[in-house]
Symmetry: C2
Subunit: 411 residues, 2 copies
Amino acid sequence: VATPEIDGQRLWRSLMEMAEVGALPGGGCCRLALSDADRDGRDLFVRWCREAGCEVAVDRVGNIFARRPGSDAGAAAVATGSHLDTQPHGGRFDGAFGVLAGLEVMRSLEEAAVCTVAPLEVVVWTNEEGTRFRPLVGSGVFAGELTVAEADELTASAGVRFADELARIGYRGELAPGERRLAAFVEAHIEQGPLLEAAGVPIGVVTGVQGIRWLRVELTGRDAHAGTTPMALRRDAVAGMAAMVTGLEEIARAGDAELRLTVGRVEVSPNSGGTIAGQVRFNVDLRHPETATLERTEGEIRQLLQRLAGARSLGLGVRRVLARPPVAFDPELVDQVRAAARRLGHGTREIVSGAGHDAMNIAGVAPSAMIFVPCRDGISHNEAEYASPEDLAAGAEVLLHTLLAKAGMGP
Amino acid sequence: VATPEIDGQRLWRSLMEMAEVGALPGGGCCRLALSDADRDGRDLFVRWCREAGCEVAVDRVGNIFARRPGSDAGAAAVATGSHLDTQPHGGRFDGAFGVLAGLEVMRSLEEAAVCTVAPLEVVVWTNEEGTRFRPLVGSGVFAGELTVAEADELTASAGVRFADELARIGYRGELAPGERRLAAFVEAHIEQGPLLEAAGVPIGVVTGVQGIRWLRVELTGRDAHAGTTPMALRRDAVAGMAAMVTGLEEIARAGDAELRLTVGRVEVSPNSGGTIAGQVRFNVDLRHPETATLERTEGEIRQLLQRLAGARSLGLGVRRVLARPPVAFDPELVDQVRAAARRLGHGTREIVSGAGHDAMNIAGVAPSAMIFVPCRDGISHNEAEYASPEDLAAGAEVLLHTLLAKAGMGP
């Protein structure tokens, strides 16, 4: 039995080979969930896992479980993994890194002929990105957030059913989701933000995922002629929206450094150069690691919107369309990630994930944690997404040692 | 020879009959320029004019001239008129009122057997609204703003040529535009704004048309994840746009009562709820009756945009895409409108037109003026557009008396 070691070059080559499946001209990837490209990526992963000595099982929503047996046949698996689907103009690392880092762990253990006590699994969760269907479906079903029947009936914009697409690409399996219990789940992922790069460390010890709330705001004023309507007689929904977005920025500035407040979607009607707009709809995206702050800030936002709408005689509708509470990862598992990084001599920074991940769902049914590595300029969901081979290898190393510590080395 | 009198009920019935051509379910009209409905509206107008004893001629861009001869065969015509084309969800009065008020003048003169010295003409200008092609084409060609050849080559969004559509509906005439010189042009129109209604008077004495400038602003920030990007590291184009629109409102508030400043069109990219937007494009619509104010305000706007873009590290592009100088109507003709209204006992208010009109073009080649009547709540370009039969009759009466004063009563 040798000491297992991550082969950073092998990991990089596998990432680049996976990136050829659905490759885009700008260097990115398009593997939309349950598309032909998603199938091809899954097929490639399954072949690699079998070559690395794993047994592959698929559940009824298409989650793939590649298992490396342990010495204790009755023990629940210590799992890792992420997703292989991408955004329409996605990068090469979001999701694929977590999956292929897991594969690299399996390969390095196989090479060193190491046997763990608990079995290890690499999981590919179906449809994390939610570009065609809603996001986080595979891990959501696994964690009981939605049922198989509900997932089956999800439809993409073209009216295609989730169940039909899943069968079409050959990934409707037999396993009942959640049947296979996990002893732990550790997901490696690129940060998708700028904090690790700014701190100059390769490893983010992720303590949890911040909570998120989405408000959908609708302002109703009155369409009127831009040339004939005096300023004082207007009910201008664009001017109202602008005052509100400016006010939201002030709320964000007054908050702590972890508060995130974004208006990224604005729709104006009739949206004509010479017409004062009678209607604007916009989205407010609010995130913070603490529920109390989310609650208080949402209250401030609603007061601001009401005050400004009233002052401008605009009709106001505010609907909360999404609310996910913050998730705290398992403290013991988080400590194991930190300890592994320290033993390996990698600099770390504690970080709360700003984005949603499959591990956020799995945390509801198994002790979970995440390992982040930096990505250049914090850019993700973009063909320009990039992480260095060195940082990716460091992340895979920390993953290997965390999984080994959790699963136990065999006799 | 009797005293000619406007028949308000006949005018209203004709307006309602014309409104059936291209009628919409919400009570409005859709007669897009050079469409089948435009042809049907023109045919109806031509039939009515012939029944009222007029000779009808059509020029090469489809402008229709319905002439009632005067006693001086060599005199240039005193003209009135407007347009019959509408917005896609247009009202029953915008354009049609000016055309049918002119017809009502002809009918009342015919009925009273009055002969004027100069001939009178009612003109239908082709394509004022510019929904399919650019606006103000017929009057623009008449005034030399563009050539027949340039008009011919204009294309609608479906790629159809102006010339082909004009021939298709049977309104490519023989007359060279501008060949027929006008002694004066007086256009009656609904105000399309709230000032006359607020003043409680039926007649607006229009002294001119305000100038207009359009700026097209493009902001470039950086797309980034709304959950992972700290507030301080963002280059958020939506937040920048909001600050700019709020700043523009302050510029408008600091200006005089005649200043109009509007952002009615905003386009956000990628316009996704969870993504900080990297790009926003918006239009600034600036109007004022004086060139000096337009010039100074445009300077202030450009300074504001540059200052805010700089402070937010946003790329900024500002392009002036439209500039029409203010138009002052012929003072003598404006006085004749005012005098006619006073003689008839109608309350008046001086007004500068906030919207563009055919008379704005004709003012470049003939003494011109306009008569406004109130429209309910200032609403126009909307199926709900409404003007009362009484106010419309008053406007037609003032038109009759202004034209008579200008053309002179025959022996």
